[in-house]
C-alpha cells in the first residue's frame, strides 16, 4: 500500500532526498533551475507551510509545491494498492496527498476527495493525475510545502528521473477546469469553490516569473516612465515580475489593434496584431502570471487574481474591454483619455482614464 510506504519512509525520504540534492549539487540544481526558471528563488521566497490552499479550477498559473516520488522496482515496500483501494499499476496516473504525522492528517491540500484530478507540471511536461492514495508529510522541499507523492509511473510520464522512489523536487499543480454539461453551461447547483489565493509568502509571483527579457530600460523613479520612443522604462526598485511585464509590453508597443488579434497563439509569440485582452495577457505572461496557453476575453479577466488595486499592477476589466496600470503607467489599446494620451494604437499611455464600469483586479503579491 502506497500510503504505508509513504508514511513509514517519509522522514527517510526527506533526509535522503536532501542528501541527494546536496550531493548532486550544481548539476541537479542547474537542472531544476533550467526546468523551473527561477525555481530556487521561488523556493527561497515561499514559506515552509505545512500545506497549501488550492486555487479554484483553471485559474492562474497553478502553484509550486514540493513533491516526492514513490513506488516502482526500487521501492517495493510501497506496494501497489493505494489507500483508495485502487491498483496503482493499473491506474498509474495516481498521486497521494500528504500531510502531518498520521493518515488522518494527510490533508496538505485541504483533504481532497479521492479521484480529484490535478494537472501536474514538471518542466515542459504536464499530465492529469488523480488522487488514489494518502501519505504522511515531511520537511519542506526547496522551501516549498511537501504536499504530494507522485506514483513512479506518473513521475516517469512527467520526465522525472527514477531514483528508486527517492526523488523529490518542486512541481506545479493546478486544478483542471470542471467538466460535464452542467458545469460548462453554468447550471450546477454548487458553484466551484471560490478562489482562495495562497498567501503571498507562499507564492510570490515576482519570484516565480520567467527570466527577464533583455533590454528593458530602467529608471530610478518609483513609477514607470514613458520614453519618447513609446517604450516604458521600469523602476529599478520594482519586483522582477513588474519589470518583466514592462519588457513584454515593450515587445508589442505600436502593434495594430485588431479585434480578435493575438488570440489562438502561445503567449510567448509576438502576434502581428492584438486586441485588448490578448495584449494584456501577453504582458501578464511576460511577468510569469499566466500560463503559455492562456487565452481568454476581457470578461474572464474580471476574476483574475484578487479584487482591488494592486501595489504595482492593477487590471481594469469588463466584458467589453480590459486595460491595466503597471507601476503607475497605463497599458491600453487606444488613447481613451483623449488628446495627449499618446498613440492611438497598442501601448503605454501617459494619462489616467476613467475606470467606471470596470472591475479592478491585481495579481497576488503585486
Amino acid at each position: 500500500m502506497g500510503s504505508r510506504r509513504t508514511g513509514g519512509g517519509v522522514a527517510a525520504v526527506g533526509v535522503i532526498g536532501a542528501v541527494i540534492v546536496a550531493g548532486l549539487g550544481a548539476g541537479l540544481l542547474a537542472l531544476l533551475t533550467s526546468v523551473f526558471g527561477k525555481g530556487s528563488e521561488c523556493g527561497a521566497a515561499a514559506s515552509p507551510a505545512a500545506g497549501i490552499v488550492l486555487a479554484a479550477p483553471n485559474t492562474g498559473t497553478g502553484q509550486l509545491v514540493g513533491a516526492t516520488e514513490y513506488g516502482g522496482p526500487g521501492d517495493p515496500s510501497s506496494g501497489v494498492i493505494g489507500s483508495s483501494g485502487a491498483d496503482l499499476l493499473e491506474q498509474p496516473d495516481s498521486y497521494a496527498e500528504l500531510g502531518g504525522d498520521t493518515f488522518q492528517t494527510a490533508t496538505a491540500m485541504g483533504g481532497l476527495p479521492y479521484l480529484t484530478p490535478l494537472r501536474i507540471t514538471w518542466g515542459a511536461r504536464s499530465a492529469i493525475a488523480y488522487k488514489r492514495d494518502i501519505g504522511l508529510g515531511g520537511s519542506s522541499i526547496d522551501g516549498l510545502p511537501r504536499v504530494l507523492d507522485l506514483w513512479w509511473q506518473l513521475a516517469g510520464r512527467l520526465g522525472i528521473p527514477y531514483e528508486d522512489g527517492l526523488w523529490s523536487g518542486p512541481v506545479r499543480i493546478q486544478r483542471p477546469p470542471d467538466t460535464g454539461a452542467g458545469s460548462l453551461l453554468d447550471q450546477t447547483a454548487e458553484a466551484t469553490p471560490a478562489l482562495v489565493a495562497p498567501s503571498t509568502a507562499d507564492q510570490d509571483p515576482a519570484t516565480c516569473a520567467p527570466a527577464a527579457l533583455a533590454g528593458v530600460p530602467i529608471t530610478t523613479t518609483d513609477r514607470a516612465q514613458l520614453l519618447p520612443n513609446g517604450l516604458a522604462a521600469a523602476p529599478a526598485a520594482a519586483p522582477l515580475a513588474v519589470r518583466e511585464i514592462i519588457a513584454a509590453g515593450n515587445q508589442i508597443v505600436g502593434k495594430p489593434y485588431v479585434y480578435g488579434g493575438g488570440h489562438g497563439l502561445a503567449l510567448s509569440d509576438v502576434a502581428p496584431a492584438y486586441d485588448c485582452s490578448s495584449a494584456v495577457e501577453h504582458l501578464l505572461y511576460g511577468g510569469g502570471l499566466l500560463p503559455l496557453t492562456y487565452d481568454a476575453p476581457s470578461g474572464t479577466l474580471e476574476s483574475f487574481g484578487q479584487p482591488g488595486a494592486g501595489r504595482w499592477v492593477t487590471l481594469y476589466a469588463s466584458a467589453d474591454h480590459v486595460f491595466m496600470y503597471v507601476a503607475g503607467l497605463r497599458w491600453d489599446t487606444h488613447n481613451a483619455a483623449g488628446p495627449g494620451d499618446g498613440s492611438t494604437g497598442i501601448g503605454w499611455h501617459p494619462l489616467i482614464r476613467s475606470d467606471a464600469g470596470f472591475a479592478a483586479r491585481h495579481p497576488v503579491g503585486l
Partner: protein
C-alpha cells in the same frame, strides 16, 4: 325649515360628490402597479412541449441525452431545441443556456464539446415525479489543452417531470448537481 334646507343641501352635495367620483376614469395599469407592485397582465398561456414521450423515464433519457451531447457549434441550437421540448423551469434554464452559449467566447474559441451517456434514471424516494439522473461525461476541446488528459467523470442531476396530457410526459425541472 332652515335646517331642512341645510340637510337637503348637504345630501345633494354628497350625492354629487359620489357621482363625480364614479365618473373618474379607471387607474392606468402603471398606477395600479404603483399600488400593488405588480403590473396587471393576462396570465401566461400554458406551455406546451413540442415533443413528449409515453413514460417519465423516457422523457428524462431523451432530454438528458441531448443535454450532454453537443459541441461548440451546436450547443445553442441544441439548448433551444431542448427548451421547446420541455416546460417550466427546465425550459427557462435551456433558454438561458441557449442565450449564454451563443456568445460564449471561450466555448467557441476553445472548440469545446461534451459527450456522454445516461447511466441511470431512478425515482427520488419520497418525491413524486422527481428522479435522480446519473451520467458519465467527457469534455474535450480542439483548441485548448485545458481538458487534455481528463478522464470521463460521473455527474448527478435531479429531474422533475410533468404530464402534459394523459400519457404525455415532459421534463419540467432540471438541476445538475455537479
Amino acid at each position: 325649515m332652515t335646517r331642512l334646507c341645510l340637510v337637503l343641501l348637504i345630501g345633494a352635495l354628497v350625492c354629487a360628490g359620489c357621482g363625480g367620483h364614479a365618473a373618474r376614469p379607471a387607474p392606468s395599469p402603471v398606477a395600479r402597479a404603483d399600488d400593488t407592485h405588480e403590473y396587471p397582465s393576462a396570465p401566461p398561456a400554458p406551455q406546451t412541449a413540442t415533443h413528449v414521450t409515453s413514460t417519465a423515464t423516457e422523457a428524462i433519457r431523451a432530454f438528458v441525452t441531448a443535454y450532454i451531447n453537443w459541441d461548440a457549434q451546436t450547443v445553442s441550437d441544441d439548448m433551444r431545441t431542448l427548451a421547446a421540448r420541455s416546460v417550466g423551469q427546465a425550459r427557462a434554464a435551456m433558454m438561458l443556456a441557449a442565450a449564454q452559449t451563443t456568445g460564449d467566447y471561450e466555448l467557441q474559441r476553445g472548440g469545446i464539446s461534451n459527450s456522454g451517456t445516461v447511466e441511470a434514471v431512478a425515482p427520488l424516494v419520497g418525491h413524486d415525479r422527481e428522479y435522480v439522473v446519473v451520467t458519465r461525461e467527457s469534455t474535450r476541446a480542439t483548441n485548448t489543452t485545458a481538458y487534455q488528459g481528463l478522464q470521463p467523470a460521473w455527474h448527478v442531476a435531479l429531474a422533475t417531470v410533468a404530464e402534459q396530457r394523459a400519457g404525455e410526459w415532459v421534463v419540467s425541472d432540471w438541476q445538475p448537481e455537479n
